[in-house]
Symmetry: D3
Subunit: 228 residues, 6 copies
């Protein structure tokens, strides 16, 4: 049995999981790990608020505990990285968050990254997380398109708003790389990048790319700290 | 009916709630708000890991929603401030966290604060939170005493370790004010302060003190953001 | 005799002291500390420059020394927090500054705070202070209304400019909470908040609210440091 | 022809290149990119000073320019990341540095990373780079073992010193993940990790792992900035 | 023989060297050090990219090594400070960079400095350097005029663009002091300052001014570190 | 009449002024500005507390105003830089502080600076100032020798303690350059540097060196800000 990377979409909307699954194509290859995308049935239709994000943690951790024997690594496919640090206590297998990996990957592609978020209320949540990561100096700005997760399915509106937001991040805030701030934006990456002419990071792709390396290297998080 | 501040101990150990309740004495006075301390029955016996902290958020938010009509403000009495930002979405009443308020109060009492934590594994969780708060420049260090929440009940061991840890924070890390990193340490505040001779902040007291002002001023968090 | 919090307006304009006194109403209640507001007779009519702020320190410290026996805590009611650290050497009673407390309180109400200042030349002074506090990461921006302290008495002009400045802080700089950068703006708090729809902190209220808790808890700054 | 990742050792010591090559084993697999390790013949025997690092940039950029048509990505295998930003101007193919990728990977494995350097004089160079990356808040400390690159070949001395340094980083500086600060330390990773019981990142492995993802995703650095 | 400060223009354009030389006039006086400006013949016509900057390091270090006996201090007159840290290994005489000294001098003239750069692609290079210096908190912004080094010779266009850029730095980004981000802008300092009404630092002048003091005091960089 | 730099010792102890005057020798030369050192008669015997520092501001500003016509620049020779920003309002001539200039000069001599202070209670005051300057990332540590200003005259004790403190800054805190944190330490610079083998900055020398350049270049602080 090959190694398997389990990508968990913590919202309950299968269409989002399917979009993620399609974005995985370039990362699947003969001899590489299997990449399986699953929907967290107990999740809300969309994770848009802090309560949404916090609420998915218990079922998400249950799912990880139950599937641990059959996975070599986990990716939490929501830009709030819900439960990332809980999950790392639940399993000794690598667990990666898409916000964390999307942002870290952006740091290798430009000097100041801009985040394209869904709603205005996502922004303070992201800012707290970016500060907790200690990479706030590299942030140009985090700006919302003003659309909920499910509204992202409307391709025309979404792309127009993303391009407009991306240009503001680049021209007014000095971003030279963009990070898509939601796992449901993958389908727009190429067109957005063509329009703004600076690199655009799709965060689930970034996280799974890092997970492939981690699976091969066998590096995990959990050893032990003195005093525990 | 007077204003009521509801102090929620998110672990299920009544003895901890009772210790918090006793620490409230100086903040209760004729004409002031009622301060009521309650135990979250669904919580674990102690909140010591990230999973513990994340796991209490759903029942904690339910409790806040259910009691909202009878409270003027809420204080979450666990040094991980679990669910603080979710709770602020659930209610328009002020919600304060003891880590947040304990640390902010310390900033008015010294230039570099030291945190006395329970276990080594609490430290990275605190560091992420202090970084998210944007006050890491003022942190001297966060050091564990190496005792779990429930072991804190052993007064002799606990006080000895806290004094030793406090002295290390002061002498080797330059702290000139200390914050107790757990809601179960209140009984040791005076003795610790006498031993280390720098101010010591008990965080539930700090948070309830700030809550009194907030209740009187009627300032809440939730208005609205453009684009929401 | 009840505890008394002495709020010192370091400028010599009684009308400003009176405005502060009126803003204290919600914080006065049976059983609570007395809140007495006084004018520093030796102060300048307004504190608008660094020299104004530095010049009031000697008489302010004299006043604190002379009234120490009759006060449980002091609040310095000028947004430059003049003499805050000198005053803490002069007395062992708690001394709080309104900039310090206004800003720390704002950190519990939003993620990025904006400051509404009086004059452009106040801004670098505030920026130095915010950096010294170590909370600059949380600052959205500090923008002046372009009016001197005494011009603030003109209600119509002032409110219009404050709303305009508050909106710029919110919309162009991402502020989700505002701090009034002068002790003479209290009368406009409610109207400003209604107009901008994000929380607005009046700093003297914030400081006196924190002082109430400090008086009850008996926490002071001055113990001793090894090597002094 | 499969994609090829060219790993360039910018010092001229073939034994170092060979050590790197051996460390690549887990990252080579059927269907994955070819990983080819080459020695920069014009480099010095070891890169230990800033002049060493700066001096290899011109020949390194020449090598990249000349081999560009035959490579899908480049990894610069020296912990000073010499010429990383020049190389990104020379080619539109992805170029990754091992310090950059080693450190970013460490951020997903612990909260505070420690760097094990070769010589004391490497430390300020690393500190400048870590600050330029904007991740200094996450650094526990960077400590030297006091051995030159070529002395690392002496396994017994090296491992003893690395373990001792790793323990100091963990116990005195609070590191919960380590990064090896030289491309010539790969052979000691497993033993060091076993001794210190916190994750240890070998930076060339970290960089090549990220390069695999980048090659598959086709993301490059160079589009264009307005005003260029 | 008097002390000599050797100012090295690392691009090969003599007209730029001559402009620098003219800017030195106020710093030359009886009894003071000789200030001699030289062109690095091996340099490119202009240093505009990272490769340009990195490429001049080897010949620049050679020049410093060869002239060391006849100089008391060196100033590298390019705003990328190419080879600054290599040069400090090559000679024990003081070596100063104009970006470093221009920025440090600006910190004594205002609270937030703005940098006027030549091209957009210079900006990330400057931002990395400012972050490495650890003074990014004081940066208002770094904005390009969109002209190459040699185009700066066109006085009319250059001055108009510099004034426009300076005003944007002041009015939109809050700069209260400006630093010219290229050694070829000296001739425009007085007119720019008159137009923007905030101090303007010409960086080669700033660096040579600091070099005069260093020569007199005899302070150098190179002593030794334990463990080297 | 040549340009004159007025160095003001804000304490009233003539022996300290005389020590400063002697330290100026290397900076006096034919054709250079006159350097005159004066004692502030109204100052306290030593500036050791925040109240001491704040208390000298009014007489210091008076002295600057009265002597403005006869000076080309002012240097405030106390490591608390008392009144620096007030003084810059009082005169349009350059005013430099020795802490500011000593620290900025250190940034060109090493990567992490250590400060040797007199008393433990000076340290938080310095830390606030260094944070206000925005250069705290470069600070290794600030450690006291535990001697008052006037005790520094005891050469044997002072030098022993300074060397011991300097070694701790270097070996335990990673300092690679030291700044003397008091204007009364100049006589010990050479011996201290010889003992610690890293550069040592005497701050009054550093400030006067920068003042020489400023006098020649005619750059001042005070132009005007829009909205003032």
């Amino acid at each position: 049995m090959p190694d398997r990377i389990l990508v968990v979409n913590p919202n309950s909307t299968d269409a989002v999981t399917q979009g993620i699954d399609e974005a995985m194509a370039p990362l699947r290859f003969a001899g590489g790990p299997e990449i399986r995308c699953v929907t967290l049935a107990e999740g809300p239709p969309a994770v848009e608020s802090q309560s949404d994000a916090d609420g998915v943690i218990p079922p998400l951790c249950r799912l990880i505990r139950e599937t641990e024997a059959h996975a070599a690594a986990f990716v939490i496919a929501c830009f709030s990285d819900p439960g990332l640090f809980s999950a790392r206590e639940v399993t000794a297998k690598p667990v990666l968050g898409i916000a964390e990996c999307g942002i870290l990957t952006a740091l290798t592609l430009g000097h100041r990254f801009g985040v394209i978020s869904i709603l205005a209320r996502s922004v303070p949540r992201h800012l707290r997380y970016i500060a907790a990561m200690g990479v706030g100096e590299r942030l140009a700005a985090d700006l919302p398109v003003g659309l909920g997760v499910l509204e992202l399915a409307n391709a025309r509106t979404t792309l127009v708003r993303m391009i407009e937001t991306g240009r503001r991040l680049r021209d007014q805030h000095g971003a030279d790389v963009l990070v898509m701030g939601c796992s449901g934006m993958a389908a727009y990456r190429a067109e957005l990048e063509a329009a703004v002419q600076i690199p655009v990071v799709e965060p689930t792709q970034a996280a799974v790319a890092m997970a492939i390396g981690r699976v091969r290297l066998g590096w995990g998080c959990r050893l032990s700290l003195p005093g525990d």
